[in-house]
Every structure is written in structure tokens, then in C-alpha cells.
């Protein structure tokens, strides 16, 4: 009996746990979808280089610091996510890519949908060691890439903010991956602009995040077959 009651407890607990944080996303045809576009501005940016302290023959003496790319107040590499969409356009089935090339992660910032895969590549003839954390603390994978041309594929199992570092002594290496619960995300380009299309009409919360310039949340209404504008300003 004790076992039976424990089982019941477990079942109840499991129900709450799986139901509350993230409902499974469902792909369906989007009728009269709208879009969201805009520009992310702010600063101050940070141009400069990071000092290379290992494998200079492959990496060079310095690498570009990509943690605050701002040009004329426009922020590149901010991630825009529309919140709370449980049903909508089909997600990209191509795996995300994180390349270790000349001792820099490419891309520096990206977004992907939870449940998709990521290919971690090594384009350098030296050891890289991609160690990814989710939510700042918890290792989500830690994989060795000892040879040029190596590819390791991992699942992005959990939504949240991932950061990746290299444990092969390349202390300057850093990448960010926003793992979102729907395919409604975008990363701003060099002009600070972004566009997310095929959005089911409705009122949404939109998050804008940048690694060094902070984050903000806005509310936006996206009308059928129309482009809604969202400009956001970030400030350190």
C-alpha cells in the first residue's frame, strides 16, 4: 500500500512538473501570420581585442572582443525572443553550429529552439574543449575536440541561456546560445535590426537580451498580415 501511495504521489508530482515550466511546442500552419521587426539600440559598446595566452601559432596574438559590438548606437548580437507561443511555425530542422575556428567560437551569439541539435566543430589543428553551462552554473555538456575536423553533436535539451567556454586553456573563448521554447527568436545584425516572421496574430511579451548590455521586456501586439515594430534600448 505504501508503494501504491508513493506511486500516486509520484504521478501527481510528475504531472505538475512536466506541465508547468514548458508546454511542448506544436508546429501548425500559421494563418494570416504577422511579423515583428525593429532595431535594438544602446551602449556603450566595447571594441578591442583579447590577449591570446596559449597556442599563439594558431590563434594569433589577439582575437577580437565580441562582447559589446555597438556601431552608431546600434547593437549587434542582441537576442530577441517572443514569449509564450505554444503553437506556430515549423522549427528549423538544421542543427545549430558552434565552430571553434582560430580560437574563437563562431558564432559568438546565437539562438536555437529547445529539442534541436547542435554540431560542435573544431576547425583548428589544436585541442579545444567546449564546456557548456545552462543558467550560468550547471554543466550541460563538456566535450573534447582534440583534432581538426572533429564534429560532436549534442541535444539542446533544456530551454534557457547557455554559455560556452573552452577548458583547453583558451580562457578568452566564450559563446552564448539562447535556447528558446519556440522558433520565434532572432539575433540582431550589424545594424542592430532583426525580423521574426510568421507569427500567429496576438499580444505577446518580447524579451531582448544582450550579454553585456542587459535585458528588457516589452509588450507588443502583432496584427494579422502586418509587421509590428519593436525598438528596444538597452543600457548598462
Amino acid at each position: 500500500m505504501k508503494n501504491a501511495s508513493r506511486f500516486t504521489m509520484g504521478a501527481i508530482a510528475a504531472l505538475f512538473l512536466t506541465a508547468s515550466p514548458a508546454l511542448a511546442y506544436e508546429a501548425a500552419e500559421v494563418k494570416d501570420g504577422g511579423s515583428l521587426s525593429g532595431t535594438v539600440t544602446g551602449g556603450p559598446g566595447k571594441a578591442g581585442t583579447l590577449k591570446v595566452t596559449k597556442n599563439e601559432d594558431v590563434c594569433g596574438k589577439t582575437v577580437a572582443d565580441e562582447s559589446g559590438k555597438v556601431k552608431e548606437n546600434k547593437i549587434e548580437g542582441a537576442v530577441v525572443t517572443i514569449q509564450g507561443i505554444a503553437k506556430g511555425k515549423k522549427a528549423d530542422t538544421k542543427p545549430a553550429v558552434l565552430d571553434n575556428a582560430q580560437c574563437v567560437f563562431h558564432p559568438h551569439v546565437q539562438a536555437a529552439m529547445v529539442g534541436s541539435k547542435i554540431d560542435i566543430l573544431n576547425s583548428d589543428p589544436i585541442l579545444h574543449n567546449s564546456h557548456a553551462y545552462i543558467g550560468g552554473k550547471i554543466t550541460t555538456f563538456n566535450v573534447a575536440l582534440p583534432t581538426k575536423g572533429q564534429k560532436v553533436t549534442k541535444d539542446l535539451k533544456k530551454a534557457g541561456l547557455m554559455d560556452v567556454k573552452c577548458d583547453a586553456g583558451h580562457t578568452w573563448m566564450k559563446a552564448w546560445i539562447v535556447v528558446h521554447d519556440s522558433p520565434y527568436y532572432a539575433v540582431t545584425d550589424a545594424k542592430g535590426s532583426f525580423k521574426i516572421d510568421n507569427v500567429p496574430p496576438g499580444k505577446y511579451k518580447v524579451k531582448v537580451w544582450h550579454e553585456t548590455l542587459g535585458e528588457t521586456e516589452k509588450e507588443v501586439t502583432i496584427a494579422a498580415k502586418a509587421d509590428a515594430k519593436l525598438d528596444a534600448a538597452l543600457k548598462k
Partner: protein
Amino acid sequence: MRSIAKRERGRGVCLGLGIAGITVWTLFAGADAFGAGSEADLGKKVYASRCGICHGDKGDGKGLVGIIHRVEKRGLTWVSYPRDFTAGIFKFRSTMTGELPTDADLERVIRNGIPRSGMPSHIDVPANEIKAVMAYIKAFSPRWKQDKPGKSIAIKKPAEAGSSASAAKGEKIWKDMKCWECHGEKGLGDGPSVATLKDDWGDPSVPFDFTSGALKGGPDIEDIYRTFTTGVDGTPMPSYADSLGEADRWHLVSYSLKMMGKVK
């Protein structure tokens, strides 16, 4: 004290039978009061008497004993930190990198202890107390409610593992896989990356010196294979499951044994 716990659980069984099938809520409350309740009490008591002094009342690894210093062979000093259970990160697992350990993994560490660290063995502790304290430890981190433990990897030791022929192949793999960048060319833990290595708490992480003595992950050949395959979470030691084939990982195990002086 333990006999009281037993009696309470006995009452739980009778009561449970009495209210069978009435409502889910009664079952829930009944189990809470007499089943899970007594296990939680037991876990708390065992933790307080055996674990808290190092791991802390809050499970954050900041107990009264604090950091434990040890001196390694050849006079090298390193520092040992009691596990911070609030992070939900575990080093010695049979599950893949980034996954929670299985109950068997936790039990193995509790029972056997961790050599070259402050963690003693607890072979004297009864099974029900270990089970209760495992549940208590899990309550320190929300991760145990969000994630499920991973699946244990399969370990099938090939006949040639541990042979000198296999070790010779492993020596080349050691070079190619750049194990030496952290562990050194001869496995002395003195590779060129050592100064940069930090664990998830920002404390210096010391790569294993294969000539220095006992392995933290366990003494058996299968234990070494498991560590190469799943990595040591919370430290820079990665998983080689995706970077290296199974046969090659076994050759690496053989070469490790050779560096430890266990292969002729």
C-alpha cells in the same frame, strides 16, 4: 531511534490499507505523514550526524570543517572542497556529461568514499539510512525536481584491456587526444594548461597525477573507462564519448594503468 521509525512505517501500512481507494488526497496525506515523512526525518538525522560537518547544514559545502588540505606524493599540495549539493552537479557518474547521476552512482560514492579527499567510506551505514540520506541530499538542489537522472552507460570490458599491446596503442591516443595538455606527457598532472584550469566554483582544478595513487572515481578498470566516457562534471575534464571510439577509450584505460605502474 531506528525502531521508532520502523513502528511508524508499520502504522502507515495499516492506515494505508484502511483508506485504500477513497480519495487521492487521503493517499497523498497518508503517505506524507507515515511513509515519506519518516524517511525525511531519518535522512535529516543521518545527514546531521555524518555529512553536515563538511557539507554544511544547508548542503552548500560550507560546513565547519571547510576546505580540506591534503599533501600529495612528491610534496605537491592540493585542496579538496566538500561537494556543494545546492548546485546539483556531480563528478562521479555513470550518466553522460551534464546529466544527473543515478541512485546507484550516489550510493557508490557514499559507500566507498572518495580516495585522496576528505570523503570517508560509509560501509557501516545501513541501507535504509543511505537511501534516506540520498533523498535528503537531493532536496538541496531544485535540479532534482526539474531533470531526470540520465541512463547509465554500458561498460563491456574487452579481453585486451589492460594488456601491454593495448597500452601501446593507448600511448599514441594519449598524444593525439591531447590528454597531456592537462595531465602531462608522462601523466604527472603537469601539462601546459594546468595554470588555467578552474572548476565550476572558480577554484583551481588539479589534473590527476597518474603516478600519485588512488583514483577518485574508483579503483577498477571499469571505473577509469567510465570517467573517460562520461567526464567529471564541475571540472574541466570532458567526456570523450563523442570524440573517441569505444575501443580507443579502452586503449586509453590500458595506457592509464601503465602510467600507474599496473601494466608491464
